[in-house]
Symmetry: C2
Subunit: 321 residues, 2 copies
């Protein structure tokens, strides 16, 4: 969980969300209960929960429905991670073993499905058909993004592809978190649109920072190898900036032609990118997204929660994990 | 699709359901479009679609909403089959290759997820929160049943387990098909309950007949080896009846102790079960379920659709595939 003062308006509700998520396993197979406990004990920042709760509280949503919505959103996120880790063969997430590191693929697929079903149940429990529809559309968008990535060629440098990918992967659910919280609060269309923009922009920034951290972090912090995206031939923003300013890089030319880069080549590329200023330019772009998010906040009711949403936006670009 | 006269009141709507399902891939990755076409072209009996449409039409549901609901239910069913076949390593279903026979596990998991998301979207499109909630609960029930089966010991003979399993696997979605169609028709609670019982009973019968066909069919008809359940150590109704009357069978005693049965042992057991009358007793039990389904139909409006639901119930026990 985020250890920051801006969660103080909603600390109690965050606990309720975790309880609500855990209680979804009640009455089901003990393996499901164990899996859910394992997944939730792994922590995670619960940043989508924070966005949902702050937005809804700011706009006067019913607390119980809001907690239900936040549990739905975090469950959806958790389910997609379970299947993602299986597909990527990831063995560690947030410093603890993934489900697929301990269980069979079959059990992992089914546990993800179970959490999807509970996410849908929680979304239905909000009682809002609009929330349900947006929720289902967001899941479709996330999964379509993953399928697109799976079937895409590696080592393709295309800015539009990149933005589409990080929207599907991350910004779509941030957007949905803020937007559905506003809908549940019966906010006006203008307010709903403003919260949607806020969620979109901080979501885009969040993923850009994640992609930057993949280049700058030590292995232990992220729980995965440095430049894991690059190792998979996945081109992220720092690489795009680097390419735009170094289209004569021999390694990069070879890679884009051969779709191959060995450890030596990766090492040289990593150093080049780190020294090129591409990281800083990516960071600047993330800041610009956050600024757009901050700009729309002025249209929302002045409140401790709005202040917290401002701090959250800044936290997103300043975080180191 | 079922080639039977009782679908005549809804033949046009069945086509609309198929179109609605296919259109879910619009605007998504070409691989998703191809997968959905492949899955839907494989046919299948669409029996849940028929139950949904007949029930809703009988009770005066709005046609467009009813078609949406039927598409939601068949999509949910299709998504669970995609993940099931992956987990079981099944290469053929309904005589054509499964998705996992042609695609990577990753693509298969994601395609299943995509169809889940579209099932949820279609359910939301019915505009009924009750439908959404029941829908999500049914998915949870199906998946919990699969997880339970996955973590269960093989060769366990327990009638209660068997009924729980076939409810989760099959009857729950039949029940939901009829029940949600009635809810969408704004039917009275009594009528909703009656349709729910109808769906439950024909669903239980449907799975018992499936389990019988696993013993009596030739390999080619079912597209999987004869006695595939028994090969996996999965005890179904014919085996339960056989055991109750032949608790001195040496093979069975050995199996239940050792959890193992080789090809010779399987062959002997299959012959013994077929000759024991256990198949006939299972069939009788399926007929009893169908009779219960027919009994509740008298509480529903007399109509061509009710007549068709009667014929459908009888078809379920008389079918050979």
């Amino acid at each position: 969980m985020i250890d920051a003062s801006f969660t103080s308006p909603i600390d109690d509700q965050i606990k309720l969300v975790e309880e609500r998520m855990l209680s979804q396993a009640d009455g089901h197979h003990t393996a499901v209960v164990a899996a859910l406990h394992h997944l939730l004990s792994s922590g995670g920042k619960r940043i989508r929960v924070v966005v949902t709760l702050l937005t809804g509280k700011m706009l006067g949503a019913d607390t119980d429905k809001l907690v239900t919505l936040a549990a739905a959103i975090e469950s959806l996120h958790t389910a997609t991670l379970v299947h993602d880790d299986l597909i990527d063969g990831a063995l560690i997430r947030r410093g603890i073993p993934t489900l697929n590191a301990q269980w069979s693929p079959a059990a992992t697929v089914l546990t993800g499905d179970f959490i999807f079903s509970k996410a849908a149940k929680l979304a239905a429990d909000t009682g809002s058909v609009d929330v349900m529809r947006i929720f289902a559309e967001t899941l479709a968008s996330i999964v379509n993004g993953e399928i697109t990535q799976l079937f895409s060629s590696r080592w393709v440098a295309n800015r539009e592809d990149y933005y589409r990918r990080i929207y599907a992967k991350t910004a779509s659910l941030f957007e949905t978190s803020a937007r559905t919280a506003a809908i549940l609060s019966n906010a006006s269309d203008d307010i709903v649109t403003a919260t949607k923009h806020y969620g979109y922009n901080i979501g885009m920034a969040f993923q850009i920072i994640d992609d930057i951290l993949d280049f700058t972090s030590e292995q232990t912090t992220m729980g995965k190898p440095v430049a894991s995206d690059l190792r998979q031939g996945l081109i992220t923003l720092p690489v795009l900036y680097y390419l735009e300013n170094h289209n004569d890089d021999v390694d990069m030319k070879n890679i884009l032609e051969s779709n191959f880069c060995d450890e030596d080549c990766l090492g040289r590329l990593l150093t080049s990118i780190r020294e090129s200023g591409a990281i800083e330019m990516s960071h600047l772009e993330a800041r610009q997204y956050v600024q757009k998010g901050l700009d729309v906040l002025v249209n929302l009711p002045k409140s401790p929660e709005r202040k917290a949403l401002e701090e959250l936006a800044v936290y997103i670009i300043d975080r180191e994990i």
